[in-house]
């Protein structure tokens, strides 16, 4: 079930009421059942994948913990990795790599390639829960934590519905103890959670879904546009992807908070970053830290005798991160591009150039412009529907058609004048709030539970009226005339 659906709006309060109404010892049962229900609402069959993943990691980690031989531990770890990554590969990456193999094979041999593509839907959230369970087993393997003996709590850790399909990717040592803890209903916390959910819904339903119309239109028909259109659509995409994704985290964090559970922050005003390296500490934080702990460091991290290995590690991590976002060349390229950005920044900071840059004292806003420009270039690659599309875009990006800003052409991108004005206003609103929080170093804009409650209500009403949803095909109401 999707967060921005009426079903979820009915589901969540019901779950929260039940959660506090039933005895503590049954809470994990409730949460597990509703989490499965939440997932199966979308596609009941794929719950099997989650159950397989759960059981494999549950059993493997217990045996890893018990066994004293390193080779046995390693063997079990390999089993866990192969099952989890195997499922991920089959359901997410098989068709992509099969396609690659197909073209390579036919180029080389001239013989017809026999392996057809699989006709599955991508199981929603598979990248998230796979990484979450993997982190747990690896932690047990590394001896960082003990294996969880309670299958129920462990299953709940894998499927806890607020963060099941789009993160934040939680670590077991943080989440499992919270799931086990007896939480009491807290009025103030509830208000804060509701405000957080409303803020997320606002970002998603009012901003992201609205700006998506322009973005989809331009990126869906790249050959019909040029120059300024691409710039608008790319900025639009930056707004969309941030509002969409961070909204999901807001709603997840808010929903968990309703039950007294704190999830980690996933975004920290990323567009105010002064470098790409900083951006990656503020954007999808739970994924970045996962890659750092479970890929970058195992590869050797930055503690290498040979300097080039650090750069190699960075580029590999970012390329894999690109692939994690989607099984296509443009995601890999986007990952590589970010790896190169970060490597260059790292290289520049070293030695003489680093000292020089330090001396120059470049103003913060220039650094922010530098960072956002590179991010936007990356987003063109990320959002393009194909490699051909982004080559086309880069070829036609510098055509001067500024006049389209003033001759009404923007109204032909799918949003009317009212929507555009509203969009401009809410984007300014959003980033003003974020800027205030960023520069004033405050966590919230408003204090006091009652004021926060009123703000939540205001947001709810605002979303109902100005949300981009329910565009009824018969709005013209031809029947009004009779």
């Amino acid at each position: 079930m999707s967060f921005n659906s009426i079903e979820f709006i009915l589901f969540l309060p019901l779950v929260v009421i039940l959660y506090y109404a039933i005895p503590y010892k049954f809470r994990w049962v409730l949460l597990l059942l509703v989490s499965y229900f939440f997932y199966m609402f979308w596609n009941p069959k794929y719950i099997i994948l989650i159950i397989i993943s759960t059981l494999v990691d549950y059993i493997a980690s217990i045996f890893i913990e018990k066994s004293k031989e390193k080779t046995k531990k390693k063997f079990l770890m390999v089993i866990s990795l192969s099952v989890n990554l195997g499922l991920l590969f089959v359901f997410k990456y098989f068709n992509f790599f099969n396609g690659v193999a197909n073209s390579v094979f036919e180029q080389l041999t001239n013989v017809e390639y026999q392996i057809g593509s699989l006709k599955y839907l991508l199981p929603i959230g598979i990248s998230f829960y796979t990484f979450q369970t993997l982190s747990y087993t690896i932690d047990v393997y590394r001896g960082k934590r003990k294996a969880e003996r309670h299958l129920g709590y462990f299953a709940l850790y894998v499927t806890f519905f607020p963060q099941l399909v789009a993160g934040p990717i939680e670590r077991s040592d943080k989440l499992i103890p919270q799931l086990k803890k007896k939480h009491k209903f807290d009025y103030y916390q509830t208000i804060q959670a509701l405000l957080r959910i409303a803020w997320g819904m606002f970002k998603k339903v009012v901003i992201a879904d609205r700006v998506a119309v322009i973005v989809n239109n331009v990126f869906g028909n790249v050959t019909e546009y040029s120059g300024i259109y691409y710039i608008i659509a790319t900025i639009g995409f930056a707004v969309q992807v941030y509002c969409d994704f961070s909204a999901y985290s807001d709603i997840a964090i808010g929903s968990a908070k309703l039950m007294g559970i704190s999830l980690m922050e996933n975004f920290n005003m990323p567009y105010f970053s002064k470098s790409i390296s900083e951006f990656w500490t503020r954007w999808h934080i739970s994924l970045a830290s996962w890659f750092k702990d479970y890929l970058y460091i195992p590869l050797g991290g930055s503690r290498n005798k040979e300097k080039w290995k650090t750069y190699r590690n960075l580029i590999v991590v970012f390329a894999v991160s690109g692939l994690w976002h989607g099984a296509d060349w443009n995601y890999i390229l986007w990952g590589l591009l970010n790896g190169i950005y970060v490597s260059i920044e790292r290289w520049l900071k070293k030695g003489k150039t680093g000292a020089l840059l330090h001396k120059l004292k470049i103003p913060g806003f220039l650094q922010q412009i530098y960072a956002i420009s590179l991010i936007l270039i990356g987003f063109i690659v990320f959002r393009s529907n194909s490699v051909g599309d982004f080559i086309f875009i880069f070829k036609h990006l510098f055509i001067n058609n500024l006049f389209v800003l003033f001759d009404g052409s923007l109204l032909k991108l799918g949003l009317d004048g009212n929507d555009l004005k509203l969009l401009a206003a809410v984007i300014i609103w959003l980033f003003s709030v974020e800027a205030y929080k960023h520069y004033a170093k405050k966590e919230t804009l408003i204090n006091g539970d009652f004021v926060q409650g009123l703000a939540t209500i205001f947001l709810i009403l605002f979303i109902i009226v100005f949300g981009f949803y329910g565009e009824y095909e018969a709005l013209q109401f031809i029947y009004f005339q009779f």
Partner: protein, 659 residues
């Protein structure tokens, strides 16, 4: 939770509820259909004795105030757009919660299916959106809409929230904030005010509708009707099924109203249902085509006639049942009826003006200025005359006389070129302005004399001759209306309709046109030779450009879906230099007909010569064209969607000049 927090939480819930309710009320479309439930809930309990149910045909027909005053009991109409039998049951249950209705009248269109899936969505919104939340409402929604759509109907704000974009939403919201629920009028009636056909005061009765054939309702509908009958029986309600006057219009309304009602006769006898069939309804109500707003809905005068009839019928037949009823909304009904009578008077005046307008537009008066001046001598007209160049040569006594009857006593000089401006607001008894001069005349609303005329628009007029600029201008509020032709240019404005109803140019200097001589019509069509007749049924191939045409009794039916229907006859052989076209056509009201001609000297499409007329209902159009070598004729039928029936088309050679 602490008590303090509980109070705060409660307060927040109240604020949220008020906010949601506010949004819902403010953004909800405020049309009469949407207010039906609000009006119903504003009624006092146990006051309504007669309830009307059904589709728009019901709520556009039955006028509560008229019915109440005739029957001396209280009636209410819960008719809503498109309501079908599947919704009626639930409306009746809801009504029974607060009212003890004695007679329910169901309008028979709601027993028939003619709506598309898309229409249905709207219909359910009309029927259920403002119904109070109850088990009945939930049942109604469950029974009517698909499972996946149930939430959409329980929370209809999803459908309407985008109305914040609408232009006048701020004014609408302002109005809602000012209107209290207690001021809602339960006798509200919103008539349809179009004229289906202003000139054809024929009874609508048509043999087609008076058949004795029988048709059964589809079984699903029959079941729904059973439910309604059961509710009526349980609650001791007399059920009456009736129909309202309509005319045949293919594809829009079912033909078989009478067949269905005939088919229900036995069932009605068994179940004590009273059926008023189409024949009785139409015979007794004297509804004419001019009482219809479109092919299926009566307009204000039609609604008045039908309401009077049904009220008389019910009070005579059910006097026993109604005897015990108390007439609660007596004062309101009386007041409402007074207002309504005024409204009907205005409506009829407007209709007569439309008829007059049609008369002006239905003929080409270019060869008959004197007669035209008689026609426009009307107290409801503002007539504006401005001349261009020399008008004098052929102005005869008839023209001179009729100008003076209109209040313009100019002596049209034969000796020298003079300019004339003449304005009459309300004919000879109204306000008159006239000026004659050999130099250019400019007149505008800035002048005191013009202000004294009390015109409802800002006026600028010019009259000038060949030596002073050669211009005739009549501009209202900056918009040009004069034909700017040589001779007299006349603009006629109707003070009731607030429209320019006719503009014409009369070149009284052109001997060929001979406007001056009423007696001498140049050609006589009856003596012409028909050289081209479309045999409507068999020679469809001779006309091109019709995409959808079906031969029907008496013509070709052309159905247009908004694109401009047109047809062309090409390379007509054997035409003389003077021809006439006679076209008999039935078209939707206010269709603009353009007849375009191409002669041998013109090769391009754009060089067609054009004649434009407005059509009303069935028309015989007569067009003469002189001194050309016509090869092609093209007919453009405006841009209205609807049905057109071409009944006949003939082209004449006019050989016999009558002198």
């Amino acid at each position: 939770m602490k008590a303090n927090n509980a109070i705060k939480a409660l307060l927040l819930i109240i604020v949220l509820s008020i906010g949601l309710l506010g949004i819902n009320t403010l953004l909800y479309p405020k049309t009469m259909h949407m207010d039906k439930w609000r009006e119903f809930y504003a009624l006092q309990d146990d006051t309504i004795d007669v309830l009307f149910l059904g589709s728009s045909h019901s709520h556009r027909t039955f006028i509560p105030a008229v019915i109440n005053e005739t029957m001396q009991v209280d009636s209410f109409s819960l008719g809503m757009n498109g309501t079908g039998i599947a919704q009626l049951k639930y409306l009746l249950i809801e009504a029974n919660k607060t009212q003890q209705v004695k007679i329910v009248v169901i309008e028979a269109f709601s027993l028939m299916e003619f709506d598309t899936e898309r229409d249905k969505k709207e219909i359910f919104h009309f029927a259920f959106d403002t119904m109070k939340l109850s088990i009945n409402k939930i049942n109604a929604i469950k029974a009517n809409v698909e499972k996946k759509d149930i939430l959409e109907y329980l929370f209809p704000i999803k459908t309407y929230h985008l109305r914040w974009k609408e232009e006048d939403i701020d004014k609408e919201i302002g109005l809602v904030l000012k209107t209290k629920a207690s001021t809602l009028n339960p006798l509200n009636f919103t008539p349809m005010t179009n004229l289906y056909s202003p000139t054809y005061n024929e009874p609508i009765i048509n043999e087609r509708f008076l058949t004795n054939e029988k048709k059964s309702l589809v079984s699903e509908y029959q079941k729904q009707l059973d439910d309604v009958v059961a509710i009526c029986n349980e609650n001791n309600i007399q059920l009456v099924i009736t129909c309202v006057p309509y005319v045949e219009q293919k594809d829009i309304l079912p033909y078989e109203m009478n067949e269905y009602l005939n088919g229900l006769n036995d069932y009605a006898n068994e179940n004590n249902i009273d059926i008023i069939n189409y024949s009785d309804m139409s015979k007794h109500t004297n509804v004419y085509r001019s009482d219809l707003s479109d092919s299926g809905h009566v307009n204000l005068t039609g609604a008045n006639k039908v309401s009077n009839y049904i009220a008389t019928y019910l009070s005579e037949k059910y006097s026993e049942i109604l005897n015990e009823c108390i007439y609660d909304y007596h004062a309101e009904s009386k007041k409402e009826l007074e207002d309504l009578e005024k409204e009907i008077e205005e409506f009829e005046l407007r209709n007569s003006r439309l008829q007059k307008r049609e008369l002006l537009n239905s003929n080409d008066y270019s060869s008959n200025l004197a007669y035209y001046l008689e026609l426009i001598n009307d107290p409801n007209y503002i007539v504006l005359v401005s001349t261009k160049n020399n008008i004098n040569t052929y102005v005869n006594n008839d023209i001179q006389d009729n100008f003076s009857k209109l209040g313009f006593d100019a002596n049209f000089s034969k000796e020298q070129e003079e300019n004339y401006i003449f304005i009459s607001n309300g004919g000879p008894l109204g306000n008159i302005y006239s000026r004659t001069s050999t130099s250019k005349i400019i007149v505008s609303s800035d002048q005191q004399e013009i202000q004294d005329l009390k015109l409802p628009f800002k006026l600028d007029m010019v009259s000038s001759s060949s030596t002073t600029g050669s211009l005739s201008a009549v501009d209202f509020n900056g918009k040009m209306h004069s034909e700017n032709e040589d001779g007299f240019n006349i603009v006629v404005y109707d003070k009731v309709l607030h429209w320019v109803v006719h503009t014409a140019g009369f070149n009284t200097n052109d001997i060929e046109q001979r406007y001056y001589d009423r007696e001498k019509v140049k050609y006589n069509i009856s003596q012409g030779e028909v050289i081209y007749t479309i045999n409507i049924k068999e020679e469809l191939s001779k006309v091109s450009g019709i995409s959808m045409s079906i031969p029907i009794d008496g013509g070709i039916l052309i159905t247009s879906n908004s694109e401009e229907p047109s047809f062309t006859i090409q390379d007509i052989k054997g035409l003389s230099n003077h021809i006439a076209i006679r076209l008999v056509i039935e078209a939707p009201e206010y269709t603009k007909l353009e007849v375009l001609f191409k002669d041998k000297s013109r090769t391009f499409y754009d060089d067609y010569k054009e004649v434009t007329q407005l059509l009303f209902g069935e028309n015989e159009i007569l067009i003469e064209i002189h001194d050309t070598d016509i090869t092609d004729i093209k007919f453009n039928l405006g841009d209205l969607s609807g049905d057109y029936i071409i009944k006949s088309l003939e082209i004449f050679n006019l050989n016999n000049e009558m002198d």
